[in-house]
Symmetry: C2
Subunit: 190 residues, 2 copies
DNA sequence: GCGAGTCAACCAACTGGATAGTTAGTTGTA
DNA sequence: TACAACTAACTATCCAGTTGGTTGACTCGC
C-alpha cells in the first residue's frame, strides 16, 4: 500500500464501497464508513467518483462485468450454464445482494446486464430453430426461467437451509435438472 | 374519515407505510412522509407501532398474511398454483418489492412465510410418494423451483418487457409450462 | 340533562445525533 | 516549483424519536 498512489486508492475505495453497498444498499450505505474501511479520505470519493450514487453505479458496473466474464454463456448446455451461475453466485452472495439493491433502488439506470441478456436470447433463438432447445417458449422466457432456477436459492434460503455441503449439492442438482427439463426439446415436443 | 378514530388512523398509517416501504425500503423510508400521507401525526406511529422497524414488520406481516390467503396452495396442480402466484404478484409489484426489502434489510426477522413454506413442502412430499409429482428432487427444492418460475419476471422485467397483454400472456404460459415440466412425474421417470 | 373528571386521541415544536458534500488547506514527488 | 494526492475540519440539512402539551368523547354523581 504505497502512499500517494491514485490507482491503488481508487481500487481500495471501490472494494470498500462494494462491501458497504452489498451490505446496506444505497440509502443505507455510509460514505464515511466506505472511506474509513478503504483507509482513504472521504474527499477522494467525490474526486474520483462524483457522489455516492455514481460510486454505486461504478461498483455495480464492475461487478456485473466481472460476473459476465466469469461465467461464459453456453447455449448448447443450458443446464451446465445454470449450474455454473449457481456456483458463482452461491460463493459470492454479495453479488446477488448488489444486483437486488440495484433492482430496488436504481431500477432506471440500466447497465450492461440487459445488453448481455439480449445477446444470449439471440443464441437461444438460433438453437431453438435448430431443434436443440424447446421451441414452445419465446427465447426471452426460456432464458428467464433457466436463470430463475439458478438463482432460486436466494429467495428460499432465508432460514439458512443449504448450509451443509450435502444439501448444497442436492439443490445444485435440482437447479441443473430443472434447467434441463425446461429447455429440453423432447419434453416440449409431446 | 371521522376524527379521533384510533382504528381508522392505525389503518391509514399502515397503508401509507406500505406504500412508503415498498417504494423506498426501511433505510430509505421517511417517517414524516408516512405520517403526512396518512393524514396523521408522526407521534401516532410511535404510540401504535413502537418505531420505524416495528412498523415495517407489521406492514410486512399483514402483506404476507393477505398474500397467503389470496393464493391458496394446491399440491395437485402446481402449474396452476404457479400461474396464480404470477397473476397475484404481477398485479401487485409492491408486494414483491416489500418482500425483497425484507430479504435485504431484515433477513433475520423471519415471519410466517417460512412457516407457510414448511407446510407446503409436507404436502409436496406426500404427493411425491403417491407418484403425483416428480420424486427425484427434495420437496424443498421442487417447490423452490416452481416458485422461482412464478417470480422470474421480476428479475427479467427490468427493461419493462411484459408491457403488452400479449407478452404478459406468453410469459404466464411459460411460467405454467415450466412448473409443469419441473414437477411432472412422467419426465422425471425416464 | 348537566357539570366535573377522566382518558384516549391527537399534535406542533423541538432535540441531538447523523450524514452527504465542501472548503481551505498540507504533503509528497517529479 | 508545480502539481497531483491527500486531509482535517466544517457546514447545512435531514431525520428518528421526544416533549409537553391540547382537544374531543364518554361517564357518573346528582
Amino acid at each position: 500500500m504505497p502512499p500517494r498512489d491514485a490507482n491503488a486508492t481508487r481500487a481500495r475505495l471501490l472494494d470498500a464501497a462494494f462491501a458497504e453497498f452489498a451490505a446496506h444498499g444505497i440509502a443505507g450505505a455510509r460514505v464515511d464508513r466506505i472511506a474509513e474501511n478503504a483507509g482513504a479520505n472521504k474527499r477522494m470519493i467525490y474526486i474520483y467518483f462524483g457522489n455516492k450514487e455514481q460510486l454505486f453505479d461504478e461498483v455495480l458496473r464492475r461487478a456485473v462485468e466481472a460476473g459476465i466474464t466469469a461465467v461464459p454463456f453456453d447455449v448448447e448446455d443450458l443446464p451446465g450454464y445454470a449450474g455454473a451461475i449457481f456456483d458463482h453466485l452461491i460463493t459470492r452472495p454479495d453479488l446477488m445482494r448488489l444486483r437486488l439493491w440495484k433492482l430496488l433502488e436504481r431500477p432506471d439506470a440500466d447497465g450492461l446486464e440487459a445488453e448481455a441478456f439480449a445477446g444470449k436470447t439471440a443464441g437461444v433463438a438460433e438453437a431453438q430453430q435448430r431443434g436443440d432447445l424447446a421451441g414452445d417458449m419465446l427465447p426471452d422466457d426460456l432464458l428467464t426461467m433457466v436463470l430463475a432456477a439458478a438463482q432460486a436459492w436466494f429467495w428460499a434460503d432465508e432460514g439458512g437451509r443449504l448450509r451443509t455441503p450435502e444439501r448444497l449439492a442436492q439443490h445444485r442438482a435440482a437447479v441443473v435438472e430443472s434447467a434441463r427439463r425446461i429447455s429440453n426439446p423432447q419434453v416440449a415436443a409431446d
